[in-house]
Structures are given as C-alpha cells and as structure tokens.
C-alpha cells in the first residue's frame, strides 16, 4: 500500500510578529513512522496542527498523495489524531467515544459496534466500553484516545505527545505497544515529541525542530551519529555531546594544547573548529588533558563525571569511578574515531570519512 505520502513545501506560519514556522519542507513516505522532535516552542506542534487542518499556514503547500490539502477543513482530510490531553468526550461512554468518528462518517449502524470492539481490543480496553472517560485511569484514557483514532482507516495518523501525560513506567510500556500498533496499522504516522528517547525508539525517521526551522531530517541513527549542525549535536543525546573549541591542522586536532591524531582526513581547510564528542567516548587517560572534577553522578549502570576543562564543562560517562573528592584532577582524552567536527562559523558538520 503506498497511501499516505506527505509533502510540505515552503510552509510559513506567523502568529502576530512571531514567526512560528520558517520555510518548512518535509517529505514523509507512506507507512512511515515519522517523529517531529524539538523543544517546546520549536514549531513541531504547529506543524502537526497544520497537517490536521486546525491551523492553516500563511504560505506554502501541504499535499497528501499528491493532492493539495493546504486549506482543506480538518474533516475533509481523512486524518485521525491523538491529542496530548486525549480530548475524550467526557459525557460519552468509551464505546460512544470510539464510535463517534464512524457515526460522523455515516457508517451504517450495524458495522459500528464490531468496529468499535475491534479497535478497543487492539488497545486492550474492550472490558471498559461502558465506562466514561472520568472513570478511567490516565493510561486507559490514552488507550481510549488511540482506539478512537484507529477505529477507521485514516490516511494519516497524528500523535501529539501522546505519552507525555503518563507516568514514567507506563510510558515505557506504552511506547513499545505504540510501535507495535503502528506497524500493524500500516498507516503513515506523524508523532510530535520533545522527548528524544521517544523519537529515537519509535520513529523510522525524524525531523529535528528548533525555533521554527527543521535542522535535520533523518533516521534516528543518522541524527544521533551524524548530527548535521552544532545545534542538533547540542540537543540530541542524554546528556548531549560535549562541544569544545579546537584547532584543526590536517589530521591533527588540538584541544587546549592536547593533540588527537584523527583516523580520517576531514574535508576542511583547517583552523578554528568545534569538536563534538559524546560523554561515553571520553576516556580517563593518564597522558590526557588535565581537568578538574566538579561532580560525579552515580547513575547506577554508569557514572557521569562533570569535569571542567578550563571554563568548559565536559561530561564523561565511565563504567565506574572512585573519587578522591571534588576538585580532584582527572586527565582525559578523546576516542579519535568518535570525534565529530563542526565548522565554528557556519555551525555545519565537517564531512569525515565516516559520513
């Protein structure tokens, strides 16, 4: 089935003087699970609401399967959406909530009940059909909202932070089920989240939003391992990668006087660059750069060290660490093949042999 291809071209959206979306281009493939990731206020929810038809863009074109639906009303788009607060109808039972889209779509009454039961079974709430939303737990309400969205076969399935109102444990469990559900549905799904772990685990591909712009589109692997800009690098990862000023001279990378010999030849004339390295790729090395220990955080499976290299905070993840006390000197070095390089002026990634 190749239904549900989404194209956004040159989308702009302003709220008064505030530009919420600046030239958004997106191409989402059929049946893809696509995440819009970004901090709050970055435009991801605005984009989703635009897809739903709840917030028309000021400029640009939005097409589904080649058909321009930029200004089509929500009901004409054949889109189902799960809202962050679920938006269940409180005066209806779960059964009536799930049946509502079918009733509005003028589905014959005889077909509604079996469809409702089927949808409820998929999210395991078939025993709650007679209840009202107010009598459900948060997780059950979330499932009810899901069931209402999947009861008909929409072209597009939109999810606005559907897990953010669940407690941590339930969120992990629901995340797995959501992924399974999406695969079985065969419907293009667009998922808004500020939680990068959610985006990484759920999405086939994702778009990273910041200040109304898309910084990068790619698979979770691409975004994580080959961040396109410093901004993406400083957002992705928990904690995100360390970014340090460095000097590049051929294959020699100098950070604060410490030389790292790169295993690849960067595509760059040399000079001032920004080096990025993830906390788990920094080693404690007696011959390395001396840093001052500020704090060590025991995370259970690992220890996260907060070190100061001059004025720069460097986060280092190690398996274990026996502290001699704060302000202790910890020498570090960087794993050469895990180094990311960025042009300091443009903020863009410098291509390396790995890319």
């Amino acid at each position: 089935m190749s239904k549900g291809r989404v194209n956004l071209k040159g989308i702009y959206k302003r709220f008064g003087n505030f530009v919420a979306l600046k030239h958004i281009d997106l191409d989402i493939k059929p049946v893809e699970f696509f995440a819009l990731l970004g901090p709050s206020g970055s435009g991801k929810t605005t984009t989703l609401r635009m897809l739903a038809g709840l917030e028309p863009p000021d400029e640009g074109v939005f097409a589904v399967d080649g058909e321009d639906v930029t200004y089509a009303p929500p009901g004409k788009r054949d889109i189902a959406m799960v809202f962050q607060n679920y938006a269940l109808y409180p005066h209806m039972t779960v059964r009536d909530n799930i049946a509502f889209p079918l009733k509005m779509d003028k589905v014959p009454a005889a077909e509604i009940e079996p469809a409702v039961v089927r949808a409820a079974e998929r999210v395991h709430i078939e025993h709650l059909l007679h209840r009202r939303p107010g009598q459900l737990s948060g997780g059950q309400q979330q499932r009810c909202a899901l069931a209402r969205a999947i009861v008909r076969q929409p072209k597009l399935f939109l999810l606005d932070e559907p897990l953010s109102n669940l407690d941590a444990q339930l969120r992990l469990q629901t995340r797995v089920e959501l992924k399974k559900l999406q695969r079985s549905l065969n419907v293009t799904s667009i998922y808004v989240t500020h939680d990068q772990e959610e985006a990484m685990t759920l999405a086939d591909r994702m778009a990273v939003f910041l200040d109304g712009e898309i910084l990068q589109v790619g698979t979770p692997d691409e975004v994580f391992n080959r961040p396109r800009t410093i901004a993406v690098a400083s957002f992705i990862g928990s904690p995100p990668m360390n970014l340090l000023p460095a000097k590049l001279d051929g294959r020699r990378l100098v950070v604060d006087g410490h030389v790292t010999e790169l295993p690849f030849a960067p595509d760059h004339p040399g000079g001032d660059v920004t080096m990025g390295i993830r906390p788990s790729h920094v080693r404690i090395d007696p011959d390395g750069l001396p840093t001052r220990l500020y704090l060590s955080e025991n995370l259970g499976e690992s220890v996260l060290l907060n070190l100061y290299l001059g004025e720069y905070l460097v986060k280092v993840r190690v398996a274990s660490f026996a502290s001699a006390g704060d302000d202790e000197t910890v020498p570090i070095s960087f794993e050469p093949d895990a180094i990311h390089l960025f042009d300091t002026t443009s903020g863009l990634r410098i291509r390396t042999a790995q890319d």
Partner: protein, 283 residues
C-alpha cells in the same frame, strides 16, 4: 485543639445568628402575606392586629375564581415566560458558542455591547419601547412583549453561556472536527451535552426574570397581555385595597418561583458563583 474547636463552634453560632436575623428580615413580609391571606378584609385592617383569628380560604377562591380572577393572567405569564425562555435558549446557545469560539470580526466590541445593554437602567427604556411598539402596532401583544423580554434575557443568557462554553477545552472540538463532525454537529454532540448544567441555570434565571417582570408588563401590556404581576393590581383601587385577596394572589403567583427555587437551589447558587471561581478559556 479543644480551644480551636470551641472557637470554631462560637464562629458557627455567630454566623447562624447573623444568618437567622437576615433571613427574618427577608422572610417577614412573606410570613405576613401568608397570615394576611387567610384573614378577612376587616381583620386585616383591625388595629391592633388580631393575633388570633379564624383562617378562611375565601381569599384564595376569590383570587382564582372571583371577579378579578388571576387565572387568565397566570396563563399569560406562563405563555410569556415560557416563550421567552425557549427563544432565549435557542438563540443564546449558538450565539454564545460563536462568542466563545469563532474568530469574529469586532468580537470584542459586540461582546461589550452585549454586556452594556445589561447596564442601561430599565426605566430609561420603557418609554422608547412604548413608542416603538406603538409605531409597529405591537403594544399589548404577546409578540411585542416577548421581543422586549428577549432584549434583556438574550444578552444575559449569552453572557452566562459564554463562560460555560469557554471552559470546554478546544481540543475536544478539534477532535470532533477531525472526526468529520460539522460545526453544528460539534455544537450538538460535543458542546451542548457538556453545558447542560449551564443551560439549566440560564433557563431558571431567564424564566424567573420573565415571570417576575412588572415594569414593562404594566406599560407595554394591556387587556390582552396582562401577566399576573400586573393583574394583581386589580385588588388595588382608588377606593380601597383588598389586602387579603392581594396577598392570596401574590402567594399564588409566587408559587412557581418558589417551586423552581427549591428544586434548582444548587444550580442557582452555582450560576451565581460561576463568574467568581472560573478562570475562563484560552484565547
């Protein structure tokens, strides 16, 4: 602990005493009317007032079936009040929805105007309304009276309903739109069921206001449209005032108000306090 409790008890006693005193002030005329309504006309005027008397039911008989029977005017009051209430709700609910939700041009100024009509002293409107109704030959007609009542009840009802509708999250409607519901379907299936309480409150207030209205009824009505509030004045004439019959008629006229008041006590209090506690919707 016990000190606290004693203080709380004392507080309660004082509050009760104040409430009882206030209640007495309010309730005294009513009690007096009840007593008078069972007296004979001569007993009413006796001085000092007769404390012990034989209660008679004739006043009620006269008020209902006598020369100045209020039965017809009770029916008139019912027609005017019920029509006003029904029309108000039918018009105010969609209007309130529009105020609460739609992006209307000049919404603010229309909203202000709606509220401003509530601030005009009714006395100032009696004569203009009289002239207008006279011009269009609608004095002493049900249509004219109901239209005039609507000019008061509609802004009030809209204003009250807007605050209820603003409390409904936007997402709920947006979900309905995505589920292919039209605006009207959304209003009918999603909004109205959730503001049933608000509609009940509005119905009660509008009905009571229409039922109790006197000033406009007396000026703009006549022999055809004579609500009970006006009809009672038949017991007052230049020569004499038939206090006992007037009291009986007043008590009969009060009955629907009292019944509704008791039945909907909770809703009324809610309606009175809604402006005080609610925060209002987004946008």
């Amino acid at each position: 602990m016990s000190l606290h409790r004693r203080a709380a008890t004392r507080r309660k006693v004082v509050l009760m005493a104040v409430a009882a005193a206030l209640l007495l002030v309010w309730v005294f005329p009513l009690i007096w009317a009840v007593i008078v309504s069972f007296k004979s006309e001569s007993d009413v005027l006796a001085y000092p007032p007769t404390v012990f008397f034989e209660p008679i039911g004739r006043n009620y008989e006269d008020a209902l079936f006598g020369d100045f029977s209020i039965l017809d005017s009770l029916a008139t009051s019912a027609i005017v009040s019920v029509s006003t209430t029904v029309l108000t709700i039918v018009l105010a609910v969609p209007a309130a929805y529009a105020f609460a939700r739609l992006k209307l041009p000049a919404k603010k100024s229309i909203g202000f105007y709606t509220l401003a009509t509530q601030m005009v002293p009714p006395v100032g409107l009696v004569i203009p309304y009289f002239l207008i109704l006279n011009k269009v030959s609608m004095l002493d007609t049900y249509t004219g009276m109901i239209i005039v009542y609507l000019t008061f009840s509609l802004p009030f009802a809209i204003w009250l309903m807007v605050s209820y509708m603003e409390d409904i999250p936007f997402e709920m409607e947006e979900a309905a739109f995505l589920d292919k519901a039209t605006r009207w379907q959304t209003l009918w299936h999603i909004i109205i069921p959730q503001v049933r309480g608000g509609i009940a409150v509005t119905v009660i207030f509008v009905f009571l206001n229409a039922w109790n209205e006197f000033l406009f009824a007396v000026q703009l009505g006549g022999n055809t449209v004579r609500p009970v509030t006006v009809a009672m004045y038949n017991f007052v004439s230049v020569e004499q005032t038939l206090w006992a019959k007037l009291s009986a008629a007043a008590l009969i006229a009060m009955l629907p108000v009292v019944i509704i008041g008791i039945a909907a006590q909770k809703q009324i209090v809610k309606g009175l306090t809604i402006g005080a506690v609610k925060g209002g919707g987004r946008r």
